[in-house]
Symmetry: C2
Subunit: 87 residues, 2 copies
């Protein structure tokens, strides 16, 4: 499944970290509004920060701009939630 491969493509061993990954892809057929992902980046980060305490050093943002598709990837390691017994 593509989504799972997206999640696992970093190839890291399972680590007990909670994280949030966001992938944006903007497919264009014409010019104009070309920086939509750039515009949305800060606002989406602000939305996340409203709900979880984000350590800026734990946020990885990757942006790629192609002719037809621009992509933005945000990877946030979340602070530990209140833990309960987890197998």
């Amino acid at each position: 499944m593509n989504l799972l491969s997206f999640l696992s493509r970093r190839g890291t061993a399972p680590v007990a970290r909670e994280r949030l990954q966001i992938l944006l892809a903007h497919e264009r057929v014409a010019f104009g509004r070309s920086d939509l992902v750039a515009v949305l980046r800060e606002e989406i980060l602000a939305v996340i920060a409203k709900h979880v305490a984000i350590d800026k050093e734990k946020v990885k943002v990757t942006m790629e701009r192609g002719d037809a598709v621009s992509t933005l990837e945000i990877d946030v390691e979340l602070p530990k939630a209140v833990r309960r017994a987890v197998a």
Copy 2:
């Protein structure tokens, strides 16, 4: 490349539509904060709507909640931008 397979997995022929796709994945290691993607859904849609005129019928939202990973997929067909000559 996984990102491209994510983009192309609908298998549709190339159509001259502009669109924005957003994929959120929340990996949990503990309970609590389990509805982060649900919380972010409305706010992210609101952020997008601030910048582009969204036709609600052109927005497809898919949410899946698993034990360890919750995912949210938002697929927005954008209104036609001002067109210029595009090869």
